[in-house]
């Protein structure tokens, strides 16, 4: 991507727009993808249970440098604060050539009804790096608080909300394709709808899902706090307030503090 970007970047339109605003749904949705592509990780061994922060590594530093270059050299002015809304607007208005976005929302960029540039927009799997591809994934859970007064009703609501019938209805009525049930992806009406938006869309989505790891963002109770802190520091580095080295060192230190190590 760094090779193509300079060739398509000019005064009329920028090469790329990426989510960069601090926050776990924002830059912490995009950056970990680059980080993992370069072999970086949050913890020493998440799967093995060793939660020693390990974000301050040469691999992550390399990834952060790439992220910073992409945004500062090849993105529109103000991109250091872009969020999905800005990325989407930039892509729909043809201000940028590339973006890397979530499957649940990327339909809004490639749908001819939404974007005048949809016909010339292609989609592909997110780019990989020396350590392979790690598409970003957002996993949501629905929980019932222990103090809930209507726990059963809540459970029944959740059952209804994630049932194949409901999800099929959502997939058909909204530009939203992140069905949690595989059977929905085989529904003919759904297939037809998303084929009209983009022929390769559903196939790529499934491929990306298979490549993605469930703990893309660590599934621990402290994550919201960790993600917020790391996101703010990454954003500071992108906007030149800190050096990438200092940002990662601070991120690792703060992760330790939050985890009480």
């Amino acid at each position: 991507m760094l090779e193509i970007a300079p060739k398509v970047h000019n005064d009329e339109h920028a090469a790329i727009a990426l989510r960069a605003a601090p926050g776990q749904g924002f830059n912490m949705f995009i950056f970990p993808m680059i980080m993992r592509a370069y072999g970086g990780k949050f913890f020493k061994d998440y799967v093995g249970g060793d939660l020693t922060p390990a974000i301050n590594s040469p691999e992550t530093l390399e990834a952060l440098r790439v992220y910073i270059r992409l945004i500062n050299e090849f993105a529109p002015p103000g991109a250091g604060n872009f969020n999905f809304a800005e990325v989407k607007a930039a892509a729909q208005n043809g201000q940028v050539v590339f973006t890397v976005e979530g499957t649940g929302v990327v339909t809004q960029i490639v749908d001819p009804a939404e974007s005048q540039y949809a016909s010339v927009t292609g989609i592909a799997l997110p780019p990989g790096g020396p350590a392979g591809r790690s598409p970003a994934i957002a996993v949501h859970g629905l929980g019932i608080p222990a103090t809930s007064r209507h726990a059963e009703a809540a459970a029944r609501f959740i059952e209804w909300a994630v049932s194949p019938e409901t999800v099929t209805k959502i997939a058909l009525s909204e530009p939203f394709s992140d069905f949690t049930t595989a059977s929905v992806a085989r529904d003919p009406a759904v297939l037809a709808k998303y084929a009209k938006i983009h022929p390769d869309y559903l196939r790529l989505r499934t491929e990306a899902l298979n490549l993605a790891i469930g703990h893309y963002r660590p599934l621990i109770p402290e994550w919201p706090e960790l993600g917020a802190a790391v996101g703010e520091l990454i954003n500071a580095a992108v906007n030149g307030l800190m050096s990438p080295e200092a940002a990662l060192a601070a991120a690792e230190q703060e992760m330790r503090d939050i985890l009480g190590q």
Partner: protein, 276 residues
């Protein structure tokens, strides 16, 4: 005394120019919001001089179908009731502070000023924890209580100043004539301090109406006030600038006449702080 020399004219021209620039600073953002509120959806990002006629009323109708009108109602309810409560409690207290010979008035004035100036984040943390446990998050009563921390010190303080300007003799005469203290307060002192009371009520309402912080933290979807509800137009997908503009106007219009009435008293309540 008026000299018409060249130097005078130059100075005058500079003065007028500076005033015009400042007027532009004050008025142009308002004009921009008005334009934005009537901008056709496909022209929001176009400069007005490129497509001056792409205007529409649709944004106004669109916002009536959102949750914003309900939030405006919540704002009226909570700001209104906290103002009424603060007046009921604060006006008699202001009267008594102005006319009695109580000791500790300096402490009282300090506490009132302090409460008026204290950062809301100090109140909100304990209130939040209590509300969570008492099930008062997202309730009108919770928000009204929080607003009382803003309105009650304000009303008491400004009524203290207003009643201080009512001559002691008026009240003494009424009591000499056999009126009870309550009667003297209601029939003599209150009418004399009416402009001040109107101003205090307006100022209290404005403070509660303007609040963003308390509402953000202790309300959820049911009792959200309008200032927080505006933020719903900034969603993950897009920023609905036209609706934001309409909502900003809707937030300002109800209080514009209040500010116009009360601005003289804003001065008085402060010069009250200068003169005592």
């Amino acid at each position: 005394m008026i000299d018409r020399t060249g130097a005078f004219r130059v100075k005058r021209a500079i003065g007028v120019l500076v005033m015009l620039i400042l007027l532009g600073f004050a008025a142009l953002p308002t004009l921009w919001v008005l334009i934005l509120a009537f901008r056709a959806p496909d022209a929001v990002f176009e400069p007005i001089w490129e497509s001056p006629l792409k205007l529409t009323f649709a944004n106004l109708f669109k916002i009536t179908r959102s949750e914003f009108p309900g939030a405006l109602m919540n704002s009226f309810i909570t700001a209104g009731s906290s103002t009424v409560l603060a007046m009921l409690i604060g006006v008699p207290a202001g009267f008594a502070l102005a006319k009695s010979r109580l000791s500790g008035k300096f402490i009282a004035s300090w506490v009132l000023l302090l409460l008026r100036m204290a950062p809301p984040v100090g109140f909100v943390i304990p209130l939040f924890l209590v509300y969570v446990n008492a099930g008062m998050i997202d309730s009108y009563s919770g928000l009204v209580i929080a607003y009382m921390t803003l309105t009650l010190p304000l009303v008491t303080w400004s009524m203290w100043n207003s009643f201080a300007q009512v001559p002691d003799e008026l009240i003494e005469a009424a009591i000499m004539d056999g009126a009870s203290l309550a009667k003297a307060f209601v029939l003599v002192a209150l009418p004399a301090a009416r402009p001040g009371a109107v101003a205090a009520a307006i100022l209290a309402f404005l403070v509660a109406w303007n609040d963003f912080f308390y509402s953000l933290i202790i309300t959820r979807s049911n009792t959200t006030t309008a200032p927080v509800a505006v933020m719903n137009f900034i969603s993950f997908d897009s920023v609905d600038w036209a609706s934001i503009a309409v909502a900003s106007i809707a937030l300002t219009l109800p209080i514009l006449p209040l500010v116009a009435i009360a601005n003289r008293y804003i001065v008085q309540s402060l010069s009250g702080a200068v003169k005592g």
